[in-house]
Amino acid sequence: MALYLVKRLFAALIIMLLVVFFTFVIFFQLSPDPAASICGQTCTPERIEAIRYQLGLNEPFFTQFFTFLAAIFVGRDYGSGASAVHCNAPCIGYSFQTNQDVLQGIIDRLPVSVTIAVGAAVLWLLSGVAAGVISAVKEGTWWDKGAMMFALAGISLPNYFVALVLQYLLVVQLQWLPFPTVVPFTDSPVQWFQAYLMPWMVLALMYASMYARLTRTNVIDTLGENFMRTARAKGLGRGAVLIRHGLRPSLTPIVTLLGVDFATLLGGALITETVFGLNGVGRYAYDAIAVNDQPVIMGVTLVAAFAVIIANIVVDLLYRLLDPRVRVSSS
């Protein structure tokens, strides 16, 4: 097991390195001169040159790349002398437009994204998986057909559309909720809850629908397996048959999917955050894209990729734990 973990971590490291490299390449090639955009309106060629020097933009490509890599471990100084800016390790970039360490910017906004992700995940797991299991058990009944129609709608509706409609209904028309504004939980739990409720609902609708359909398929498949017949032939009660024998094979793939989906959300539910005006990591990226704040875009991309890679490893390990057939066991 330990050897496997080491191998996976090593592979993950390689992939991470490649992701950094390609992200760097693409931004290097694609972006219009960042110095110009930092400089702003009242710019002179001298100032642009100065900024370019500060950012090390005149260096050859690989030098810039390795500087960037090194910065992740030891931090980095931009420019020199009095106007020097220090970026602490791990440094994944510095935004001159917002005058902030990118990693710090992400960390500041992480709580919002995490709250959104966790809340939505709880909602969609409870509703989606439960609905899927019930649908599978009651296959063909009105409950099943109704639930699946609802789920179908859930995955077909664009989430920004749902978000806006929900906001329109609940905030503008019915005035049941105020416009979402994030306050710390300790300041006002009620307002905190009100701020997150709609993003949770929007995300949960989409994911719950997906998970309901998937769970239903898995459970139906499992119910048709031979070992279910054996369980019944042993004279086990209906509950034991379903829960003990039916759920574990069905839900194990769901767990692994959950890991990846959750990690993706941690990288910021970009559209949801933007529509509801919540200041999470996704919003950070979106705003940065709008003004072409390259370091931020790069930084968020890297952090998001990192989260997904780690999640894949965790999920892989989890799967080995849950499915005896995959385990490298000693007989």
Binding site: A231, A233, A240, T252, D323
Partner: protein, 278 residues
């Protein structure tokens, strides 16, 4: 093979008829099985033999319409409530299925699955049930039963897995054992060992056994009586000696004359995973 007894047969099937919306699968099946006796139910795929066993267990799908009588120790089994059948299943009537790999839940240890059957009917603690499971595994000659109780199905070879299934069927000491093609998915060499095991088990417990198969060669080893089925109908019945030495029906004769493997590629044996196994 004991002499004919005059007591009530363990299982008594009369005019059993099973009908699905798509058609009739069993049309008028009748036979008795006494204590310590084995009835071989022979036929090709689709002859209705498996359906018969499911009817006895009460495991037919909802769409099935059953008429006739199936009496176990004199009590009618057909049309009983599921709750009532549950008490009987696994306890007094146990079933062994064809493919032990897919018939065991890969997520639980074999000990757990055997113990489960025991606890469901006899109660008791988990530990006690696990001990029973180990005992059952030992009785079916699985080496190092106590150690292997904690192993998972995929860690056993095909033959060993089938022994696990048999152990699971025996743990509550049933009066009737239904074996549905228990050797079909196994290697030929292993088949003989399993058949011997089943014979031994029956002699020990004096349980009645319904042995379902398409393979007449297998039937000759193990059955006292034979019922030959075709397209849901019984074409011939009698003692094993009668059927083998003096078959009266053309179909039976054809079955006897044909090579041992009558069926098509569908029933090819599964690849066996050996684990120091047989």
């Amino acid at each position: 093979m004991s002499a004919q007894s005059t007591e009530t047969p363990v299982l008594s099937v009369r005019d059993l008829r099973i009908e699905f919306p798509l058609g009739v699968v069993v049309d008028g099946s009748s036979f008795d099985i006494a204590r310590g006796q084995t009835m071989g139910l022979v036929g090709e795929s689709g002859s209705g033999k498996s359906m018969t066993s499911l009817a006895i267990m009460g495991l037919l799908p909802k769409e099935a319409m059953t008429t006739g009588s199936v009496r176990f120790h004199g009590d009618e089994l057909l049309h009983r409530s599921d709750a009532s059948m549950r008490r009987t299943r696994g306890d007094q009537i146990a079933m062994i299925f064809q493919d032990p790999l897919s018939s065991l839940n890969p997520y639980y240890t074999v000990g757990f699955q055997i113990a489960e059957a025991y606890r469901a009917h006899k109660g008791g603690t988990k530990a006690a049930a696990m001990t029973k499971a180990a005992e059952a595994m030992d009785r079916v000659r699985i080496p190092d039963a106590v150690g292997r109780v904690r192993h998972y199905p995929h860690q056993f070879s095909g033959g060993m897995r089938q022994r696990v299934m048999i152990a699971m069927a025996l743990v509550c000491e049933p009066d009737l054992i239904i074996a549905d093609e228990p050797t079909t998915a196994l290697d030929v060499t292993v088949q003989a060992q399993i058949l011997d095991l089943l014979t031994e088990v029956q002699e020990m417990t004096q349980a009645a056994m319904l042995f379902i198969t398409h393979d007449l060669a297998v039937v000759s080893h193990i059955s006292d009586h034979v019922t030959v089925m075709r397209y849901g109908r019984t074409v011939e019945q009698g003692t094993a000696e009668q059927i083998f030495s003096n078959p009266r029906n053309d179909y039976t004769r054809a079955l006897l004359a044909a090579t041992p493997r009558l069926d098509d590629a569908v029933d090819l044996p599964e690849p066996i995973l050996t684990n120091g196994g047989e």
